[in-house]
Every structure is written in C-alpha cells, then in structure tokens.
C-alpha cells in the first residue's frame, strides 16, 4: 500500500511538473511584454525591471528561465493583478472558498439524489417509469448549462420572485469571513442576525447549486442504474437471494457497494466538465468564485490572473482526481487484487 501511495504522489508531482511546463510555454506566447505577463507590473521602474530580470533569469536560456519561473511560482509569488494591483495569491485565496462551497453543495445534491434515483430506476420493472427517468436524465445531460441557469433565474428569480439570483449573500449582512465559506461563517458569526443571514446565504446558493448539480446528477443516475442492472444478474446476487435475504438487504448490502465502484471511477473523469460548468454558473449568478474571477480576468487581459487561476484550478483537479483514485483503491477490494497481481 505504501508503495502504491508513493506512486500516486509521484504521479501528482510529475503531472504538476508537466502542467508548469505547459503554462510556461503559454506565458511566453502571450501577446505582451514578457515581464508584464510574468509579474503584472505595467510600467515598472528601472529598479523593478532589474529585480524582475534577476528573479526570472530573463537574460539566460530557456531552461534557466523555466527553473526560475518554477521557483517563483512555488514560493507563492504569482505576480500582482494588473487591474486591482493586489497580489494574485491574495485574490485567489479570497475567491477559492466560494467556489469550493458551490461545488461541494452541488456535488452533495447530485450524489444524495442521484444514487437513490439510479437504484430506483434500475429496480423498476415498469417500462414507463424507466423511460421517463432515462428521458429526464438524457435531457439534463444535453442541456446547455448557461441556458438552464438563465431560464431558472428567469422563472424562480424574476417571474416568481422566490429566490435571489445573484451573489452569495445579501449586501445588508456584514459577516466577518473566518473560513471563507459563507454558509459556515454565518453560523459562526456572533452578530444578532446570524440566523437570518444563514437563511439568506442558503437561499442564494439554491439556484446556482441546482444548475450546477444537473450534470453530475444525471451522470450519477445513469451510471448507478447501469451498474445495478448489470450486477443484479450476477451469480452472487442470486446466491444472496438464495440465502433468503430480503430484497432490500440484497440491494443495499450486496448490489450497491459493487455499483458505487464504477460511480466513483466516473466521478474522477467528470471533474473537468464539472469545473467548466462551474465557471459558467459562477458568471451567470455573479457568484464571487474562481470562475467569475477568471472570466473577468480574461475580459481585462489580466495575464497574471489568468495564469494564477488556471494553475490553481488545474492543480486542484489533478489533486482531487488522484485522491479519488486512491479512495477508489482503498474502498474497492477488487482493485487491490490487480495491485497484488502486478507487484
């Protein structure tokens, strides 16, 4: 197991290294002065220029330039944002929690609703129920997320007026950020309005979370259903039935754990599309997260912000997908079989 973990760590480092190379090459192709693309300083004075050239070894060959670049980035220096003149890393730290909050809530929604529905869909022998569920999930899978977001906000936000359609929290509430997650901060806050602020934050997150949850939800339903249908034909399910176990027990204890394995595997593959969708959703609902920040960065040609954002998001995705893989190996005894066989 230790050897396996070491190999995963190695994979993480190697992949991140490749990512840095890609970003370095892209940075040198930005249609602006290289020192500006690297640091975000628009018109640096002579002293700053000297500093930049020293930090990034701009007068040396490509290799030493790359290693200086790597050194700077790893030490946490992502340059400063050209528009706000604040360090990119600070801005990143302020927008990341919001994105995590949105992603976590919608992932939770998708899993808690998707898995039971997938199981129900697979067990139903009724043709109409099955077709309905498949039709709904296929539509959800095909829907353009920006259009869904607009439509939902038009209905529930504007015409019915039930839910707020932009931002994370009503501006009236002044909540001190502790963790950065508004849902937690409002609960932790000792202001007299903390309960109503929490409810407000909850209302704000509903629409974006539902919009974002549609894609993973449909994927989870479809994969769970397909997996359960395959598994219910296996001999060990028949054997479990032959032991006189109740159907619900057979499904929950024998079929579901086996079905969750492919679901988990596909969650890792879904991260990329999920992140893309999250960015669009953040733009539509003016959610103060990484996506909206990055998109405004590209509108303003803020190259340091673009680099920093892409780097952070890609690193997080690499990390989470490797974590999912490790989790997959940890909970799936069958994958350990292959592991033993290979070593």
């Amino acid at each position: 197991m230790a050897r396996y973990l070491l190999r995963r760590l190695n994979l993480f480092l190697a992949t991140s290294f490749v990512l840095f190379i890609v970003l370095f090459i892209v940075t040198s192709h930005f249609p602006v002065e290289k020192s500006f693309a690297l640091t975000g300083l628009h018109s640096p004075n002579a002293q700053q220029i000297e500093q930049i050239e020293k930090n990034y070894s701009l007068n040396d060959g490509q290799f030493s330039q790359f290693f200086s670049y790597l050194q700077q980035r790893l030490s946490g220096d992502l340059g400063i944002s050209a528009t706000s003149q604040r360090p990119v890393i600070e801005e990143l730290a302020s927008v990341l929690p919001a994105s995590f909050e949105l992603a976590a809530v919608s992932a939770m929604l998708a899993l808690t609703l998707g898995i039971p529905l997938g199981v129900l869909a697979s067990l139903s022998r009724h043709k109409i129920t099955q077709h309905t569920i498949m039709a709904i999930t296929l539509t959800g899978y095909s829907i353009p997320v920006f259009w869904l977001g607009l439509t939902l906000s038009l209905w529930f936000g504007v015409q019915l007026g039930w839910l707020p359609i932009s931002g994370q929290l009503n501006l009236l509430y002044e909540i001190e950020p502790v963790t950065g997650f508004v849902l937690i901060d409002t609960l932790l806050s000792d202001s007299p309005y903390s309960t109503s602020a929490f409810i407000d934050a909850l209302l704000h997150i509903i629409l974006p979370a539902i919009t974002l949850a549609v894609l993973p939800f449909t994927v989870v339903v479809r994969i769970t259903r397909a997996a359960i249908i395959t598994i219910m034909d296996q001999t060990y399910i028949k054997a479990a039935e032959a032991r006189g176990l109740h159907t619900s027990r057979v499904v929950l204890r024998h079929a579901l754990p086996n079905a969750l394995i492919p679901v988990l595997k596909n969650l890792g593959l879904m991260l990329g599309p999920f992140a893309s969708y999250a960015m669009v959703v953040e733009v539509i609902f003016a959610w103060p997260g990484v996506g909206a920040w990055l998109v405004s960065g590209i509108y303003q040609r803020d190259y340091t912000v673009i680099q920093g954002g892409v780097l952070a998001v890609a690193l997080i995705i690499i990390f989470i997908s490797i974590m999912i893989e490790v989790l997959y190996t940890a909970i799936n005894p069958l994958s350990r079989k292959e592991l033993y066989a290979s070593n």
């Binding site: 994979l11 190697a14 992949t15 991140s16 490749v18 990512l19 890609v22 892209v26 192709h29 930005f30 249609p31 039709a135 296929l138 539509t139 899978y141 095909s142 829907i143 353009p144 997320v145 920006f146 259009w147 607009l150 439509t151 038009l154 504007v158 991260l271 990329g272 599309p273 992140a275 893309s276 960015m279 669009v280 733009v283 990055l294 998109v295 590209i298 509108y299 040609r301 190259y303 673009i306 954002g309 892409v310 998001v313 890609a314 995705i317 690499i318 997908s321």
Partner: protein
C-alpha cells in the same frame, strides 16, 4: 438421397447487422438519428432556405414575438431580436457555425487523437508512461480553461474556438483510445496472434482494432455533444463567436439584454442547442446499448 432438413436453417446475422437491428429496435435512438440527419442537412443547406440574411435588420419589427404569439407575424416565424433580425434565419445560418464546426473539430481531434493514442497504446515502458503523464496534465485543464488560455494568447474569435475546443478534446480521445488498446493488448488472444507470427502492425490492425472501434464510435458521439456545448458556452461568454455572429451560444448572449422583455431571444437558440445535443446523445446512447451486448 437429398438431405432432409430436420431443423430449419438458423441465419446468423453479421455483427454490423446485429448492431443495426438492435439500434433500430430502439425508437428513441432512431428518432435521434433522423434528427441528426435533419440538423446535418440544415447546417449544409440552411443558408439557402433561410428567408432573410443573418444580419438583415428590419427597423419596423424590433423584438417581434414568435408567430404563435398574438403579437407575432408569420413573416418572422420565430420572432425578431432587438435589432429586428429574424431569429429563424439566424438559427439556420448559425447551424453550420455551431453544429458544423463541432463536427469539424471532432473529426480533426479524433484523427489526431487516434494516431497518438494508437502509437501510445502500442508502446510500452517509459515512453508510454511519460506520454500518459503529459495527457493527465492536459486532461486536468478543463475545456473552458483551455479556451481561456487560447483566447489569452490569440485573442477572441471563432477561429480560435476551433483550437480551444480541439485542444481540450484531443487528450480525451487519446486517453480513451490509449486505454482501450492497452486493455486489449493484455488479453490472451493477442498473445496467441503474436505467437502465430503477426507483426506489430498486423496485431494492431487485424487483432486489436476490431475490438476498439466501438470505443472510438462512442467517444465520437460524446465528443460531438461536448464540442457543441463548449462552442456555445464560449460564444455565450463572448470568448468565441463575436457579437453579430449568428452562432447559437452568441445569440443567447446577445439576447440576454432583453431577457425580461423578450425571453424568446434567449429561449429559442437555447432550445436549438438542447435539441441538437439531445439528438446526438440519443444516437450515442442507442449505439452504446447496441454495441454493448457484443462485449458481454
């Protein structure tokens, strides 16, 4: 003495025929196929049947409702936008931008991905491992981020969407083909073929490929639907097709200003995107279930 037939002859259909039978047995998949053919025809001949030019403005018919609305007219079947442009004509002109370009991107990315994936899949050891790390790194950049990088380098525009979406799709193709080939390579029948003296090319083309085609087909349908959604999303974010273009995602974004007064300027292009992606997914789904019994 003529042979007496005790049992009637059992015709065994060829695999292609079997796939076609089980595909056409599924009414939804079949409907999807017709819809895809229809959209394909529209994206080729759309500009010919469109009643107006995409940029032609009718100053007397601004924000006209669709024809089924009491305020609408039949001249502008799906209504007009805030500049008086006919939405129906714009949709037809945009079909080849959204749908046609998606096809183009997928074909290019698939060819590239197939070649790289096949080479990588047949390789072993360090080279293969370096390549798979590279792919993992590229795969971890979501398509939208890739597009943002491309736009940052080359500036926004429809041409750059081609590069952005293509660059995001290619690693996916490479990876799935690589994995499929790699899995097949480890099976016994490949070893048997090698022992029979097949050279690497024969092993690849005659032994492995027949078992990988279904992965390629499924990836293609997934790729087309992802490409349509990505092109539209980039158009919507103003990173792809720019303002007067009738690209469907850009149309949604242009209609945003009038979302409250004229919701159809947003709804109709959105439904067009939804329908085309749905049709592709129906076909893909049908193909997947038609191909799967062979695997089992």
């Amino acid at each position: 003495m003529p042979q007496i037939k005790i049992y009637q002859e059992d015709e065994i259909p060829s695999p292609m025929k079997k796939i076609w039978h089980s595909f056409s047995d599924n009414p939804f998949a079949f409907a999807g196929l017709w819809a895809v053919i229809g959209i394909l025809l529209l994206s080729i001949f759309g500009p010919l049947i469109a009643p107006y030019a995409p940029e032609q403005q009718d100053p007397h018919a601004l924000l006209l409702a669709p024809s089924w609305d009491p305020a609408g007219t039949v001249e502008h079947f799906l209504g007009t936008d805030d500049l008086g442009r006919d939405i129906f004509s714009r949709l037809l002109h945009g079909a080849h931008l959204t749908f046609g370009m998606a096809l183009g991107i997928v074909v290019t990315a698939l060819t590239l991905g197939f070649v790289i994936g096949a080479v990588a899949g047949m390789m072993k050891g360090l080279k293969s491992s370096i390549l798979s790390h590279l792919l993992d790194a590229l795969l971890s950049i979501p398509s939208l981020l890739m597009a943002i990088l491309v736009v940052a380098v080359m500036g926004p525009g429809l041409n750059n969407v081609f590069w952005a979406v293509g660059l995001a799709l290619t690693p996916q193709f490479v990876r799935s083909i690589h994995q499929a080939i790699h899995e097949e390579l480890q099976k016994e029948y490949v070893t048997a073929a090698k022992l029979d003296g097949a050279n690497p090319f024969q092993v690849f083309w005659y032994v492995i490929m027949p078992n990988v085609w279904d992965t390629v087909i499924i990836q293609t349908t997934l790729g087309i639907s992802a490409a349509i959604l990505d092109i539209a999303a980039l158009g919507f974010l103003n990173l792809g097709a720019q303002a007067p273009s009738p690209e469907w995602g850009a149309m949604v974004s242009q209609g945003m200003d009038n979302l409250l007064t004229a919701p159809w300027t947003v709804t109709i292009p959105g439904i067009a995107i939804l329908c085309s992606v749905l049709a592709i997914n129906l076909v893909g789904d049908g193909l997947r279930s038609a191909l799967s019994p062979i695997n089992n």
